[in-house]
């Protein structure tokens, strides 16, 4: 409702009065404009049961289908999770978890068998999950040098102060510097399909396409134009906890050095202490075969990463994701319940409107 309109009465604020001093003085009369007189056309909604009823019903009607859709989508996502921390004595990785040393050269391996009772039809995302790992610790988050990671050759040998105390090792700059890089997840995981006849068939895991395109191509760059990474990283040392220097992360030159995708993924620090990070993608090979058929599998772990110090857990998650990401029924339930609540409120308001609505329209102010 446009409650007020322009008023055109004596639309003039300038009457030149012949001043006694000779000059024309300007009248101080304020201008009669809608803005100055606070008469701009205005919409004055009064929120009453009657006027907001439709909104509630519309919210109800829109939210419930969305919620159902989300819920169905979420429940169609298949997720399989294996905890391989090895806390339990019965666990195959118990031994590895018990004796741990960053610098041990002898890898500790363990193998965890599991059974998939349903096949995965499309691409499967393989995650590793850590819990109770506070990647969002204030100092931890800061402990990196983005300029170095962006391939700035001068920054490479001059890690920023933020990286302290992981900036220099034995007076040599660390590349990549900082606590985040230093604590990079270094378990390597392999997946084997165990044929019904008992042979272990390795499942091909694709290690590219797991990081954001912009991160890989814009934000992270190897230093200099030197294709020889060993030379490019000349003068730097590997992070203390790493076993290999950064230029030996992968044999593929497109996935080595700072642009190694495992590294990039790790560098995007997780928001919450329990998180997962994309490890590998299992591509669908051809149209007929399911990506991961039903059956027995074995997860072979090179157990390197210690989590006992913070009572953390390590998991591997196999997930067939959809447009809404991983499996999470929460949002669907939330939408359905909010939609229902709104619908219910709509009914209540309808009742209120019938009971009180007439009164406000008659606008009886006598009491």
């Amino acid at each position: 409702m446009m409650a007020s309109g322009y008023n055109a009465k004596d639309e003039d604020g300038h009457i030149a009065v012949a001043g006694l001093g000779g000059g024309a003085l300007r009248s101080r009369k304020p201008e009669n404009t809608a803005f100055k007189q606070q008469r701009l056309p205005a919409w004055q909604p009064v929120l009453t049961a009657g006027s907001v009823l439709p909104a509630f019903f519309i919210i109800g009607l829109v939210f419930i289908p969305i919620g159902i859709g989300l819920y169905v989508t979420s429940s169609n996502i298949r997720e399989f999770e294996i905890d391989y921390t090895g806390v339990d004595v019965s666990s195959p990785c118990f031994n590895c978890s018990q004796n741990f040393n960053w610098n041990s050269t002898k890898p500790c391996t363990c193998s965890i068998p599991f059974y998939l009772d349903q096949s995965y039809e499309s691409n499967v995302f393989m995650y590793y999950g850590l819990s109770n790992f506070y990647q969002n610790h204030r100092r931890y988050v800061k402990s990196r040098d983005d300029s170095q990671l962006n391939g700035d050759p001068t920054e490479l040998t001059k890690p920023s102060k933020e990286c302290e105390p992981y900036a220099f090792h034995e007076h040599k700059p660390i590349a990549p510097c900082g606590a985040i890089a230093n604590s990079m997840f270094n378990d390597s995981l392999e997946l084997f399909y165990i044929d019904p006849n008992g042979t272990k068939v390795p499942v091909p895991l694709s290690s590219t396409g797991i990081a954001w395109w912009t991160d890989k191509h814009v934000k992270f760059r190897n230093p200099g134009g030197n294709p020889n990474l060993t030379a490019a990283f000349q003068g730097t040392v590997k992070p203390v906890n790493w076993r290999r220097p950064v230029y030996e992360l992968d044999s593929d030159p497109e996935n080595n050095g700072f642009i190694n995708e495992d590294f990039i993924v790790w560098m995007r620090t997780a928001a919450l202490p329990t998180f997962r990070k994309l490890y590998r993608v299992i591509q669908k090979r051809n149209g007929l075969m399911p990506t991961l058929p039903r059956g027995n599998y074995s997860l072979d772990v090179h157990y390197n990463y210690p989590v006992r110090s913070f009572e953390g857990r390590k998991r591997v998650i196999l997930s067939s994701i959809s447009w809404m990401g991983g499996k999470n029924p929460f949002l669907g339930i939330a939408y359905v319940s909010v939609g229902s609540v709104c619908f219910f409120l709509g009914v209540v308001l309808l009742f209120i409107h019938h009971k009180y609505g007439n009164r406000s329209s008659s606008a009886d102010m006598s009491h």
Binding site: A3, K29, Q44, A49, R139, S147, G325, L345, A363, H367
Partner: protein, 1212 residues
């Protein structure tokens, strides 16, 4: 330049210092030294005449301004926080970033200050450049110089209507008597002319030859006071410039009053600080427990640079400070700046209101106090002056009584009424002020009977004496129409004052005017022509009106040769002017007045020149004034006295004297009572003939008194009292002071709005009561308690009776006499007085002094803890205006003093209605809602960070980039609340004026209370919980990174905050829509740009990635809906179920304007009926309280008027 040793220079400087400090000052004329080196000038020690009101200089602006700003505690606090950022252990992310908000705020304030100072500088420059004439011995004439070049020791020529450039010593005037008249309105606000005499014994010949006079004038510093420009003088003068520098008005800038809202706000800020500390302590404790719970050192725990880890307790101690920095926004840093901006905006709208503009004086409302606009919406008591505030203070002679005979001047009234209507119409049509201002006083329509009396021969002496007294016994200054006083400087000085009040609105408005001019529509030409038609019509009407008048004027044949019509009278008070004009109308024309003589022209045409022996000027103790003259023919010494009736009646010749005299006195007294009941201001005129011996002896005493050094005032008064005895009553006059336009309506409306109106006046009770009835302060059915006691003693014990019965009577009005008031204000009675006054519908205090006025205001303000407003127009109201929470000055007839002391200056009493009911209500509700919203906004935003602490080990980490956090408060969400505070309208102006009851919502606690504050804080907590935990549960366990998680949180927070505001906004205009949408757009643009631009930003490309993810939208949608649902529902239920008047009014506002007006009309009439009914009921119960109160008022020599007697008085 001759060489001068540094030592000599220092000596010279010291000598100059001594010369300036001396009490007695020797000045030497500059003339002989003209053209000489600066070092040889005798007056070089004195500062030049340039004025400088600026606070800062260009060079030292920044340090000085910073120093000023750090006087504010809040700024210090925020700077302290910024410094804390640089402490390494606190581990702030980017300490430099934390400086941005405080820098922006300091810069904004500095820019504002610089702008104000620049305006001051400009106005100084303008003033310093004004021309004046200074004598130059080289040129042998007066040459034009600029004000600032005038030096001590110069000779200055000031012409009629010039502004005086400095403090001057008057040496010579064109007047043969060496007299000039000046107006000092800019100094003390008094608009009447004051006489100044040239220094006696100085002889100057103004010729073409050089002025060879060197004057060693001795001026006591401060003796002349300082003089500001705007003195109006006669003819040519030569002045020696006196004071070394022209001091400015003692204008200390805008008075700092803190509004009630601001005081409450500060309490809530303290609550916020407590809340902040609680949150920080929780964080600190949480961090400690978190660290303690770890079995060993985890990977993610980063040691210090030297490799060691802090102990948990130390680390958590540091975390406390980190938390303060992280959550500091909870204390709204920008709130103070925003409030100031909002208030400036509100004042901008108030000053631009057409309804508060007065055509006649071309004056809009002036807001001098910038920071108490919202108090206008909470007023509970109004204390009003009567004369000039409720009334126009334009005196019109109405009736007189001479020698006990009454001359009612009946025709006077009706003709005038008709005439006034026409004049008013013409004024409106012509938009002009060109009509002579004192037209009304000049046109006295004569009473035929009296005219015959004068012309007749019998009793001529008494009548002649009466009119001679009217003509002589005053301080009216006569000037010829050609040399009429001009208010040339009024505009200039008004501007000047405004700049000094550092009111930035003028320029602001001119800016807006310029910007808006292209949208302005010119009025169609047709309307202009029709206006012209009407004007000519009006003029013809005016002519006919003039003819009617001239019928009553005495025949021109008897009129003398001197064109009496060209005389102009400048009077100290409008009463005097009215009386002189009356005398003139009856043929007794005051022709001229010098300090020594008065010339009066008699109806016969003869001119009499009376020698003035002495003038006993008016003072408030004697309440009368007298003029002692020697009659030119009879050589008798005659004393004419004019004064308040009781002041004169006491001094009449002994009552045992002539019987006739006694009869005259009693008759006159009767007439006086009658006048007073009619609401006229009464004056008695008396005369006394002294024999020469009597005069001689008295004159000696008088000389002693005048020459006395100590106790001079008292002695002078005593001498006056001594001679003013045994007077012979001549008669009395009744002068009308008309009510201003729509005063009764305004008073009624204000009372309906729940405001108690008190009138404090210096007038007599009868006059005041009648004005009270006329302006509907008192109603016919009211029970009026009249308290007046002659002696102090008896009423005190009796008054102690409990006035409890007062409760049962609805409409009680109290009329108190000044003397009684003094007693009631005594410490033992004041509580009871306040208690009684609280039950009264209206209170009228008569014959109160200015000091009493302010005491009453203070008493009520402090005892009842209510918001008070004082309104007045004269110098006697200044105390009251300053004592009240809000002082309103009316720029009327009595100069500028009240206006200068006030917070708001209006030109009509009726403007109070819109100022309070509409602007007051709006300002209050806008600001209250804005402040609450501001607290809410910051809490809602900051709590997100707090909740996150539970998931990041209480390490004071943020999931939103610091820059974006700062932008969030500084850019994305700062403008909407300011706009909300300036422009929101809960109810339209028409409704607020139509239903004054709506004003009550602001009184007392109003919208901004403890309750509303905490409700909104709770809401903020709830909303932040929703905005945090919906995304949390959605993204829990997923691979989301910190900033990708923070982005939806920030977005949800933005939407929630803006939509919350949208729910609160009561009236949407295009500006609202534009600003809200603009804020959202700005958020996305800035965040997107930031995500691309900064490679070093860990959240690189985050929002871009989020915005292609449908989940982002789904999360934002549902979180926003859930977060706002309770508030939305709360508003809906509040508006549907409860029926607060505001809500009802808003419902009505949505109706068609015509329907709405109809409804208001019906409702008002309905309410009128209800009120009638209640008053019927109450009249029955009168008997009881009356009885109980009777004891009370009889004891105090007062009386109670029954409702019947009131009616009869009202009918008179």
């Amino acid at each position: 330049m001759p060489w001068m040793s540094p030592l000599a220079r220092i000596r010279d400087a010291l000598a100059g210092q001594r010369a300036r400090d001396k009490d007695l000052r020797n000045l030497v004329s500059n003339l002989p030294y003209e053209g000489l080196d600066k070092w040889k000038q005798p007056n070089r020690h004195f500062r030049n005449n340039g004025i400088k009101t600026t606070k800062y200089s260009v060079l030292f602006f920044i340090p000085m301004n910073l120093f000023e700003q750090f006087h504010r505690l809040a700024n210090l606090y925020f700077v302290g926080l910024a410094i804390l950022n640089f402490v390494p252990v606190v581990q702030a992310f980017e300490p430099e970033v934390a400086l941005i908000p405080i820098c922006v705020i300091l810069a904004l304030t500095a820019i504002k200050d610089a702008w104000e100072d620049f305006r001051r500088y400009k106005s100084d420059k303008k003033l310093n450049r004004l021309p004046c004439f200074v004598y130059s011995s080289k040129e042998k004439c007066f040459v034009e110089k600029r004000w600032k070049d005038v030096r001590v020791g110069d000779f200055v020529k000031v012409e009629s209507n010039d502004i005086v450039p400095a403090d001057l010593l008057l040496l010579y005037t064109s007047d043969p008597n060496g007299v000039c008249h000046i107006e000092t309105a800019n100094l003390d606000g008094e608009t009447n002319l004051k006489q100044r005499r040239a220094v006696p014994g100085v002889c100057i010949t103004v010729s073409n030859t050089d002025i060879l006079l060197i004057i060693h004038a001795v001026i006591r510093t401060g003796c002349l006071g300082f003089s500001h420009p705007d003195l109006v003088l006669k003819q040519h003068l030569v002045y020696l410039k006196g004071h070394e520098t022209k001091a400015m008005l003692n204008n200390n800038g805008p008075r700092y009053k803190r509004s009630r809202l601001e005081r409450r706000l500060n309490i809530d800020v303290i609550f916020c600080i407590l809340l902040l500390f609680t949150m920080c302590i929780i964080g600190s404790l949480g961090h400690y427990l978190w660290l303690e719970s770890m079995p060993s050192v985890p990977l993610y725990l980063v040691p210090q640079t030297d490799g060691h880890l802090d102990t948990p307790s130390l680390s958590s101690f540091y975390k406390f400070f980190s938390m303060i920095i992280l959550l500091q926004v909870l204390i709204p840093i920008s709130l103070y700046v925003s409030i100031e901006l909002v208030k400036i905006g509100q004042i901008y709208f108030i000053t631009n209101d057409l309804d508060l503009y007065d055509e006649e004086t071309d004056a809009t409302i002036q807001c001098k106090a910038l920071n108490i606009t919202e108090d206008l919406g909470q007023i509970q008591y109004i204390f009003s002056d009567k004369t000039g505030t409720l009334t126009e203070n334009k005196m019109v002679f109405r009736r007189c009584s001479i020698m006990g005979r009454e001359y009612p001047h009946k025709e006077n009234e009706c003709v005038r009424r008709a005439l006034k209507m026409y004049i008013y119409k013409i004024k409106i049509l012509m938009f002009t002020k060109s009509l002579p201002p004192n037209q009304q006083e000049t046109e006295v329509i004569l009473d035929q009977k009296l005219l015959r009396q004068i012309r007749g021969t019998e009793k001529i002496d008494a009548y002649q004496d009466f009119f001679l007294a009217l003509a002589i016994c005053n301080t009216v200054v006569v000037s010829m129409a050609t040399a009429k006083r001009l208010r040339v400087s009024a505009r200039l000085t008004a501007e000047f004052q405004q700049t000094n009040q550092s009111n930035p609105l003028d320029t602001l408005s001119s800016l807006v005017r310029r910007a808006g001019s292209w949208t302005r529509l010119r009025a169609p030409i047709t309307s202009e022509t029709s206006a012209n038609d009407l004007t000519t019509q009006g003029q013809s009407v005016n002519q006919t009106g003039g003819q009617t008048c001239s019928l009553h004027v005495p025949p021109q044949g008897t009129a003398p040769a001197v064109p009496a019509g060209k005389l102009c009278y400048e009077a100290e008070s409008p009463d005097e002017a009215a009386l002189v004009h009356t005398a003139k109308a009856y043929g007794f024309v005051l022709m001229s007045r010098t300090p020594d003589s008065v010339t009066v022209q008699l109806p016969s045409g003869a001119q009499l020149r009376f020698e003035v022996l002495d003038t006993l000027s008016f003072d408030s103790n004697r309440k009368r004034m007298s003029v002692l003259v020697r009659h030119p023919i009879s050589k008798q010494c005659i004393l004419y006295t004019k004064g308040a009736d009781y002041a004169i009646m006491e001094l009449l010749e002994t009552p045992y004297g002539e019987k006739q005299q006694k009869a005259i006195a009693s008759d006159t007294q009767q007439h006086l009572d009658c006048y007073a009941k009619e609401g006229l201001r009464t004056l008695c005129i008396a005369k006394k003939v002294l024999c020469d011996g009597e005069y001689e002896s008295w004159a000696v005493q008088r000389q002693h008194a005048l020459a006395a050094m100590d106790n001079r005032e008292q002695l002078i008064m005593d001498s006056a009292v001594q001679i003013e005895t045994n007077l012979c009553l001549l008669g009395a006059t009744g002068v009308e002071d008309r009510l201003q336009d729509s005063v009764p309506d305004t008073v009624m409306t204000l009372r309906e709005a729940g405001i108690q109106v008190w009138v404090l006046t210096g007038d007599k009770p009868e006059t005041a009561v009648n004005i009270g009835y006329a302006c509907r302060l008192l109603e016919q059915d009211d029970l009026v308690i009249n308290m007046s006691c002659k002696r102090n003693s008896p009423c005190i014990p009796r008054y102690s009776e409990d006035p409890r019965n007062v409760d049962t009577t609805p409409d009680i009005s109290l009329v108190i006499d000044g003397r009684t008031l003094t007693m009631l204000m005594s410490p033992d009675l004041r509580d009871r007085f306040v208690d009684l006054a609280r039950h009264c519908r209206s209170v009228l205090c008569c014959r109160v002094t200015p000091l009493q006025k302010s005491e009453v205001v203070k008493l009520i303000r402090e005892k009842l803890k209510v918001m008070t407003l004082a309104v007045g127009d004269g110098a006697n109201d200044v105390n009251m205006i300053q004592a009240a929470d809000i002082g309103v000055g009316i720029s009327g007839q009595e100069g500028m003093q009240a206006v200068m002391a006030s917070d708001f200056a209006i030109s009509r009493f009726k403007h109070l209605k819109k100022l309070l009911l509409v602007h007051g209500h709006w300002c209050y509700s806008r600001l209250a809602n804005m402040i609450i919203y501001f607290f809410y906004k910051n809490a809602a935003n900051v709590n997100l960070l707090f909740w996150y602490q539970f998931f990041c080990g209480f390490t004071a980490n943020a999931m939103i980039d610091h820059w974006l956090m700062i932008f969030f408060n500084l850019l994305f969400t700062s403008v909407p609340p300011i706009m909300f505070g300036i422009m929101d309208k809960d109810v339209s102006a028409e409704m607020l004026l139509g239903l004054p009851e709506l004003y009550r919502t602001g009184q007392g606690k109003g919208e901004y209370s403890f309750f509303t504050f905490w409700i909104s804080m709770l809401d903020a907590f709830y909303q932040s919980l929703v905005a945090f935990f919906i995304p949390y549960f959605t993204y829990r366990g997923s691979d989301i990174d910190i900033y990708a998680f923070g982005t939806p949180l920030n977005t949800i927070s933005l939407f929630t905050i803006l939509l919350h505001l949208s729910i609160e906004i009561k009236a949407w205009t295009i500006v609202h829509v534009f600003i809200i949408l603009g804020s959202v757009t700005l958020y996305f643009i800035v965040t997107l740009a930031y995500g691309v631009r900064y490679l070093n930003y860990s959240g690189y490309w985050t929002l871009q990635a989020q915005m292609v993810d449908p989940m982002f939208y789904l999360v934002c949608l549902i979180s926003t809906v859930i977060a706002l649902l309770p508030r939305y529902l709360f508003h809906v239920l509040k508006n549907s179920i409860t029926c607060s008047p505001i809500v009802e009014a808003r419902h009505l506002d949505t109706l068609e304007p015509s329907t709405r007006d109809q409804w208001i009309k019906e409702w008002r009439s309905f309410r009128g009926r209800v009120q009638d009914k209640t008053s019927d009921v109450s009249s029955v119960s009168y008997a009881d309280p009356k009885a109980s109160l009777a004891s009370l008022s009889y004891s105090s020599n007062g009386y109670i008027r029954s409702s019947d007697s009131n009616k009869t008085i009202g009918a008179l």
